[in-house]
């Protein structure tokens, strides 16, 4: 199956990163159409498209947009773009911002128009200096040409867009922690519904706020230009996933990189697009390091779609697809993953703060050859004490990969614990 190129069609064309080049390729047609439409009609188009958030959770985008008060009473409505992209294995937002910045800006402006937002913030991961530069340049150009700022394209709609650079915390990609960070507080998550109002009611500075992922916004111009109905024809073979999705394929494939596919594509087809698996496929972490890994057998059955991936025991997540061949020791792989989450736990809640560190300590001991009988079961128990108990999704994200790996490859854990060494003869030595 071939790649469907929507977002990435002109990604490799440097002129697309300038306003003129973008316009020449039909850019801003979506916004122009949107500005001529009723605000609700814009939201209805997004609803018809079936677009679901590309940041990981797959939440229907239109519901968020529709949740903003129609009668604007608040002094501000905000549009936030989550460009923190911290999930290991995921690097699509980076490319989208560096190579198609105007798609993101146009998408945010469309969303802003639909929700009467006057201000937008792009919260960019601190390490993404190139992406931030590209976005800065594009925003400046858009301002100069009247695509941002006061009275956009003579429509009477005002929208200001700012960039904020993160300071190096994975947790700041979690939407409420992102808002804390944006407000100058420690990057810790905030209470969520039903413990507090939805962000669409009281988000950033307690004002109505929409937050979406970079890729989610980048899709909006196409939906507005070609219509929600058209967009919903892409991926129609799946249960409830529509359109295209950019997957960051890494690991043991011949051509790692970002690939855009229709929902409904099989996982193996995605591997094929990425030049095929190097060596013998052993497992895959299909949606970023936090989703459970699946073994080769499950890979062969997997169809890409939110519900379809759940059927094989994993998730679409953020689309960070990590391919592992038979040279990889699963125990060490999971130890390295656990190291990431223990480092990134913000410390706010007990299960995640203490649990991630304990998981790491046990896995480290196993990897060093000091595993003990019962360790595997203890790991699972600890995960069950974290999963669903932590304050935000980071705890879950730390627990799922461990549970997934133990479920998919129990024998590797048993072997390592019993023999003090890996089952995989030539396992790669991971840095740690």
């Amino acid at each position: 199956m071939a790649e469907t190129k929507l977002l990435l069609e002109h990604a490799h064309d440097p002129s697309y990163r300038t306003l003129d080049g973008y316009l020449a390729k039909g850019g801003y047609a979506g916004l122009k159409r949107a500005l001529g439409m009723d605000r609700q009609a814009v939201i209805d188009q997004v609803k018809a498209s079936g677009l679901r958030g590309r940041g990981g959770a797959g939440f229907p985008t239109w519901i968020k947009w529709n949740g903003i008060e129609k009668d604007k009473h608040a002094p501000h409505h905000f549009m936030l773009c989550n460009a923190d992209e911290g999930e290991p294995g995921t690097f699509k937002d980076k490319q989208l911002m560096e190579e198609t910045p105007f798609l993101v800006i146009e998408g945010m402006t469309i969303g802003g128009y639909a929700t009467q937002a006057d201000t937008g913030y792009v919260y960019i991961r601190g390490e993404f200096v190139d992406a931030a530069r590209a976005m800065r340049k594009a925003i400046d150009e858009a301002y100069a040409a009247g695509y941002l700022g006061k009275n956009i394209l003579g429509s009477g709609y005002d929208f200001d867009l700012h960039i904020h650079m993160g300071a190096g915390s994975y947790e700041c990609g979690e939407e409420s922690a992102l808002m804390s960070s944006l407000m100058g507080e420690r990057g810790m998550p905030r209470l969520k519904f039903p413990h507090a109002p939805l962000p669409t009611v009281a988000g950033l500075w307690d004002l109505p706020t929409v937050i979406n992922n970079v890729e989610t916004y980048a899709v909006a111009p196409f939906i507005l230009e070609r219509g929600g109905e058209w967009y919903s024809t892409l991926g129609a073979s799946t249960k409830n996933s529509r359109g295209t999705k950019v997957f960051s394929v890494s690991g043991h494939v011949n051509k790692p990189g970002n690939y855009e596919i229709d929902f409904g594509t099989t996982l193996l087809d995605l591997f094929a697009l990425a030049g095929g698996v190097k060596g013998t496929l052993k497992a895959c972490v299909p949606g970023g390091s936090s989703v459970p890994m699946i073994d080769a057998d499950a890979c062969s059955k997997a169809v890409i779609g939110y519900e379809e991936m759940a059927e094989v025991g994993s998730m679409v997540g953020s689309g960070g697809c990590i391919v592992l061949n038979d040279q990889v020791c699963i125990v060490k792989f999971i130890w390295r993953t656990a190291l990431f989450y223990a480092n990134e736990s913000c410390g706010k809640c007990t299960p995640c703060r203490e649990g991630t560190r304990w998981l790491l300590q046990i896995l480290e001991r196993i990897v060093k050859g000091n595993g003990q009988p019962g360790d595997k079961e203890l790991l699972l128990e600890i995960c069950s004490q974290i999963d669903g108990r932590s304050f935000c999704g980071l705890g879950d994200a730390a627990a799922w990969p461990v549970v997934g790996a133990i479920k998919a490859f129990p024998q590797e854990f048993d072997y390592y614990i019993a023999n003090g060494r890996s089952m995989v003869e030539s396992d790669l030595v991971l840095v740690g």
Binding site: H195, P197, G347, P351, R353, Q361
Partner: protein, 731 residues
């Protein structure tokens, strides 16, 4: 933040029992209505819920139209969940118990098991929750984290980082309650630590509270560390007597020695907080300088004597009486003792030479706002500040002078948006939340007060009699602005903010400034015109009581002026004495009279004039000039070396008695610490002296004295011991 509870109610079920609760009430609080408890660590009812520790997880569902309950897939934190219609909460399911065990196991893996030597052991929420809900064994075999065990955050607070369970209570206290934002978390995840900014001194006037709200032994009192185990302590309710706020506190003592003070709940006064001055300011009970036996000067040296010798010498010196004798008092004396002192002086020594005031300005009885303007000088209760729309604090640094009132005012701003105008000649802690800061040049208080009144008059919101209007011309807002250095528009804005639901607050500190009388009159006038409340609060523990009970050269108990011959005679009759007609001298005159020999005998009751009076030189001349000096005190002071007789008196917590705080709340303090040496309660000293001077029925208890006070000063009816409630009673 969770929605604020409203008056609407909702029906929820808790463990299948239906109950009506205020809409939005947090589930942790709602379950208490059924006598149930959800274990907590991070939740504190006086701070915003944060849901950090996850100890309070419960199962939650919602009632469906068909009557069944659909449970949410994940357990929910009870401390952050507001009650809503049809909510079904389960606090006692197998899953809930498993979650509690899980959270406790996590908390304990890195918590040192040094309970046997921990200050908190025996009164530790972590210990208690572990006992009730925790796992009995640990599956943790890795290395525990190791961190500094005694990091000095400040002079008062030592942090044991290993014990911290990262609940954030301490951090939130400094952000939400004290407002000094001195603590924050640094580092991330399991390495997260509470810390002061850049590890500098944790500088707060309220730091001691974090020791109490820390649910483990991480924040410890530098003074109390390793001094006692909770079960060795006797804990008794008391009142703090370090300042005029009169906080409810617990006194802990061990083998008869005071070791620790904690806050006690009194919603009307301190809620549950204490200030550092109070919490750490009771060392005098154990001071090596305690006066434990009477002493008499013989051959130019002070020698231990017995009480009979002391009384004999005193009576010999004081009995000539009249203008030649005098008494000055400090603030830490009970109502009963003040009353008896003035009765002794007026009835036995026939003298009105009595004063408790140490400020530069001493209002003559006829100049008092009560008599001159009919304006009460204490109107607003501490609690009432919470609901004031605006407050002007002028000439005072509240955090230093009225610390608990400061916390209440901050709460009023934080929770209810009270607009606070701070007028002071220097930075104050209240500036941080002030709506408006008026920084005037030192000594220009009167111009500012006049300017505020003039602005109110100009805006048409206040009307004043013509002579006042004429007088105010010198303080038109623009004139006041140039005199004080406060921009004119701010003066006008401040005057605009005040109104009927406002309070003006100042303290006796204002009596130290130039033109204090004029300043007070303008402020009282401003309050009167705007129908706001005016408050001139006392500073010392029982200054207000001393005033109410006649430790004053011109005022008798219940505030009757000596000049009002008929009323004064009536007061005398109720007291059973004849009140001398001639007014006494105020503190300054009185000291001068001592210095030049007009006063022969002076009795100092719980006061060191060197510490309290502005003119050291005058004090020295007075103490040297007076022929006979009685120093009655708790500890040795600079004045004791001048004494002819030293009388040891017991401290407030070593006797029964009542104290009147700055909002005129009378509170009872029972004896919580055993007697020290031969020292006696002040009232007993006065009673015994009276008895030796004139045969009469002596007083045997403080309660008997209060019975008499209630007859003499009817306002104290409500303060009779059988009527005084747990929170005390305002006069």
């Amino acid at each position: 933040m969770a929605a604020a509870p409203t008056t609407d109610t909702v029906t929820i079920s808790i463990n299948d029992v239906e109950i009506e609760v205020p809409k939005g009430e947090l589930i942790v609080d709602a379950v208490k209505r059924l006598g149930l408890e959800i274990p907590i660590f991070c939740y504190h009812s006086r701070m915003k819920p944060v849901g950090m520790c996850r100890m309070c997880l419960v199962e939650v569902g919602f009632k469906q139209p068909d009557g069944s309950v659909r449970k949410m897939p994940k357990p929910q934190a009870g401390c952050t969940l507001p009650a809503s219609e049809g909510m079904a909460v389960y606090t006692d399911t197998e899953l809930v118990h498993k979650d509690r065990r899980g959270v406790l196991e996590f908390l304990l893996i890195n918590h040192p098991l040094d309970c046997p030597i921990c200050d908190r052991g025996g009164e530790c929420p972590l210990q208690n929750n572990t006992l009730f809900y925790g796992p009995s064994t640990s599956r943790f075999i890795e290395l525990k984290r190791h961190l500094p065990k005694a990091f000095p955050l400040s002079r008062y607070v030592t942090l044991d980082l290993e014990r911290c369970i990262q609940c954030g209570r301490c951090v939130r206290f400094t952000e939400e309650i004290s407002g000094d934002a001195q603590l924050a978390f640094r580092f991330r995840g399991a390495n997260m630590q509470p810390t002061s900014f850049q590890l500098t001194e944790f500088e707060s006037k309220f730091s001691g509270n974090v020791i109490e709200i820390c649910p483990v032994g991480a924040l410890t009192s530098t003074k109390y560390r390793f001094r006692a185990r909770p079960w060795d302590l006797e804990t008794k309710p008391a009142i703090c007597t370090v300042c005029s706020n009169g906080c409810s506190v617990w006194f802990d003592y061990r083998v008869g020695k005071f070791v620790r003070l904690n806050g006690r709940v009194n919603e009307a006064v301190n809620e549950e907080w204490t200030c550092d001055r109070g919490k750490f300011g009771h060392d005098f009970y154990n001071s090596p300088k305690r006066l434990l036996a009477p002493a008499l000067r013989k051959e130019d040296a002070l020698r231990t004597a017995n009480w009979a010798e002391a009384y004999a010498a005193i009576l010999e010196a004081f009995e000539p009486g009249g203008n030649a004798v005098a008494a000055l008092t400090g603030p830490m004396v009970s109502n009963e003792s003040y009353y008896l002192l003035q009765k002794l002086f007026r009835g036995v020594f026939r003298s009105n030479n009595l004063d408790h005031r140490w400020t530069r300005h001493l209002s003559a009885a006829s100049d008092r706002l009560e008599s001159k303007m009919g304006m009460p000088t204490v109107a607003t209760s501490i609690e009432a500040f919470e609901h004031k729309s605006a407050v002007l604090a002028i000439g005072t640094s509240l955090a230093d002078e009225e610390p608990i009132l400061f916390l209440r005012l901050r709460k009023a701003w934080f929770k209810n948006g009270t607009k606070v105008v701070v007028a002071c000649d220097r930075d104050t802690d209240a500036d941080s939340f002030a709506h408006l800061v008026l920084r005037y040049r030192p000594g220009t208080e009167m111009a500012l007060a006049g300017g505020l009144l003039a602005a109110a008059v100009e805006s048409g919101r206040a009307t004043v009699p013509d002579p006042v209007r004429e007088d105010l011309k010198r303080y038109s807002p623009s004139a006041a602005a140039s005199a004080t250095g406060v921009p004119e528009d701010r003066i006008r804005e401040a005057a605009d903010i005040l109104g009927p639901n406002a309070a003006i607050v100042t303290t006796h500190r204002l009596l130290d400034v130039a033109d204090a009388q004029g300043t007070l009159e303008y402020l009282a006038g401003l309050a009167m015109c705007l129908r706001a409340e005016f408050n001139l609060y006392a500073l010392g523990a029982n200054d207000q009581g001393a005033l109410e009970l006649g430790i004053h050269p011109e005022l008798l108990p219940s505030g009757v002026a000596l000049a009002d011959a008929e009323a004064a005679a009536e007061v005398g009759r109720t007291m059973g004495i004849e009140i001398p007609r001639e007014p006494g001298l105020g503190t300054h005159e009185l000291l001068r009279a001592c210095a030049d020999g007009r006063i022969k005998a002076l009795w100092l009751v719980g006061c060191d004039p060197f510490a309290l009076h502005a003119d050291r030189d005058l004090v020295q001349r007075a103490l040297e000039g007076v022929e006979f000096l009685v120093v009655q005190d708790i500890v040795e002071t600079e004045a004791t070396s001048y004494a002819s007789v030293i009388l040891p008196m017991l401290g407030p917590a070593e006797q029964d008695g009542t104290y009147t705080n700055m909002e005129r709340r009378v509170q009872r303090l029972r004896q919580v610490i055993p007697d020290a040496g031969d020292a006696k309660p002040a009232w007993r000293i006065f009673a015994e002296a009276m008895l030796r001077a004139q045969p009469q029925t002596p007083f045997f208890s403080a309660e008997e004295i209060m019975e008499e006070i209630a007859r003499v000063a009817p306002a104290f009816e409500v303060a009779r011991y059988d009527r005084l409630g747990h929170e005390g009673t305002r006069l």
